[in-house]
Amino acid sequence: MEAHTTPLPGAAAPAPRTRAVESTATWRRRDRIGLALCWAAGILLCLIAFGLVAYMAVRGVQYLKLDLLTTRPLSDLDQSKTGGFLDPIIGTVILTVVGTLLALPLGVATAVWITEYARPSWLARAVESGVEMVAGTPSIVLAIFGLLLFSESVFSFLSFTAQGGAVFGRSFFTAGAMMSLIALPLVFGSTREALQSIPGHVREASYALGKTKAATIRRVLLPTARPGIATGTALGMGRIAGDTAIVVILLGATLQLQSAGDTPGLSTLKGTGSTLTSYVYNNSPAGEGNAPEKAYAAAFVLLLIVIALNFAIDLLSNKRKAPTWSG
């Protein structure tokens, strides 16, 4: 059969037709079983995921009233008088802020040291393993370690000391300190990734202009790594806001914020309180309270906070429209 060249333009092109996706008729039975299992898993996943979200939304909207967000909680046998959860909300915010403020400089400093210096090398490996160990430690173990540590009289300035000298060891300071350990690996990891993805020629260009290493880090590298640092911080904040074990053990479990001492800001931090997570825990049948409606409402607020943080993380990590180093 002979080939011939394409006809002159003007001839109508035939309508292109699409082809169907391949059929499964020729597959082996094992392959078809695999396909069926995948579909089953997918459908089950949809049911569970959407079911969970829908259930929480329904219950939350059902039980959440505006005054719950603004009234302070009270301890009362009569459920209609137990107030709202303003203090726990404030507690969550304070704890997240304290934990992040401690984790951020430590995490960034460690990441910078690991990527830019890392001498001696045995120390660098040890630090990296150390951070990984912290990441893998259950928060309950961190909590009781914190209790152990901060009950020493050395740390009595961080919390309330009872009559008779026993250091209470439970306060926003101590809980915040342990929370920072939860957020630290996340800040460290994101910062390190961001710094490692900056190509070497950027650093070389800065040194070639005569800048010191410290100045390069401060003026060139860290500003570039800012989205990564922000992502890690948001991830850390999410984990802090959602953690319950440390709160239950290290925050004293008082419904309202109780300050210790006289100085206005410090006393709150030295005092005890509760957060949304411990509030939910206490109001569920597992805790002392017996108000599932308040628990649902508080859980819904907590869920909204987590969704907002997740949204912020997505926005931050999609900011790749920032000028890149080409390459």
């Binding site: 391949e22 499964t24 020729t26 597959w27 392959d31 396909l35 995948c38 579909w39 089953a40 898993a41 997918g42 996943l45 569970i48 995921a49 959407f50 969970l52 259930y55 400089p105 430590l106 400093a109 460690t110 040291w113 690991i114 210096y117 001498r119 120390l123 040890a126 630090v127 150390g130 951070v131 912290v134 430690t137 259950p138 928060s139 309950i140 173990v141 961190l142 009781i144 209790l147 152990l148 010191t212 410290a214 999410g238 806001a241 959602g242 319950t244 074990a245 239950v248 997570t277 939910v280 825990y281 569920s284 049948p285 597992a286 628990a295 649902y296 907590l302 987590v306 943080l309 997740n310």
Partner: protein
């Protein structure tokens, strides 16, 4: 600031983290030692009701010479093992199949909705899972699934309410699966197209391409996901203390189906439930002994994850 000083400062800060973790390990083990020393290896073995033993320890007389330390922690260890392993095995299978579904077979619109929802679920605090478990699943199982005969059959040992092994494993699975799905989906997507296209061009059908090429290339990520999930499952204290039954009991598989409905209480949940008694010295030391076991487990877990990835590097699968 000179470069040298900055380097020293940063190095010092980095070492702080290292000191903290080393300090933590040393502190916890030092505090935990008396409990291990007084029980020997039998600490891990069975023998008696562990809850009663804990009460005895708590009620030790004030004289240090008369501290009670006897503990046979086997029911707690067994409970931890069975909930963790059950949740991870079921969760990993489910996560792998779901991840394949999301990457390859899901309709595009469903995929666009499902993926953010899965990532969101991975970030939901554990106390919310516990809340749903204790307010929805526990009454459902307690009232509708457990029959009266089943309750009677084990009544001489333990009470069956809805809080049970089944709820614990189910909710733990639901809790750890989303993060595994997210990790495996990322890994499946980052398999180079040249491999999948090359396999398709050889006349291999879609399922086989995914299974023999993509999943095979994603094995390091699957291992990492499993390790991460196991660590999370091991350390989960709050949710499990809400739903697993809070009784230091080792569910007996010989009981048949009732085995699923028996309560248990893993190590982390035990610590949470008993945290108020830390001031009593021998009790505190026992609790730290539990924490020490958890610490060692997470260390062994990281090591085994690293070891499992080593053989994969041979053929060029990027670990």
């Amino acid at each position: 600031m000179t470069d040298r000083r900055v380097e020293l400062l940063l190095g010092a800060l980095a070492s702080v983290v290292l000191l903290l973790i080393v300090g933590m390990v040393i502190f916890v083990f030092t505090k935990a030692w008396p409990s291990f020393a007084n029980n020997g290896l039998k600490w891990f073995g069975p023998g008696g009701n562990v809850d009663d033993q804990l009460i005895d320890i708590f009620n030790s007389p004030a004289n240090p010479a008369n501290y009670v330390y006897k503990l046979r922690a086997y029911p707690l260890i067994y409970g931890t093992a069975i909930t963790t392993i059950g949740a991870v095995v079921i969760g990993l299978t489910f996560a792998l199949l779901s991840a394949i579904f999301i990457v390859e077979f899901a309709p595009p619109r469903l995929r666009a909705v499902l993926e953010p929802v899965v990532r969101l679920l991975a970030a939901v605090p554990s106390v919310i899972y516990g809340l749903i478990g204790i307010l929805v699943l526990v009454p459902f199982i307690g009232n509708d699934l457990i029959t009266a005969e089943q309750k009677k059959s084990v009544a001489f040992v333990v009470q069956l309410s809805g809080s049970s092994l089944l709820v614990a494993v189910v909710i733990l699975t639901v809790m750890i699966t989303p993060i595994m799905i997210a990790i495996i989906v990322d890994a499946l997507r980052s398999v180079p197209r040249s491999w999948t296209e090359g396999a398709s061009a050889l006349g291999v059908n879609r399922w086989r391409v995914i299974w023999t090429i993509s999943v095979r290339a994603a094995r390091p990520a699957i291992i990492a996901a499993a390790v991460l999930a196991t660590a999370r499952a091991l350390g989960e204290a709050i949710m499990l203390s809400m739903v697993s039954g809070s009784v230091g009991f080792a569910p007996n598989p010989l009981d048949g189906l009732t085995f699923l409905f028996e309560p248990t209480r893993p190590l982390a949940a035990t610590i949470v439930d008993n945290a108020e008694g830390l001031s009593v010295k021998p009790f505190g030391q026992t609790i730290y002994a539990f924490a020490a076991v958890l610490l060692v487990s997470s260390l062994l877990l990281s090591l085994s994850g690293w070891a499992a990835k080593q053989p994969l590097k041979r053929y060029g699968v990027r670990a």
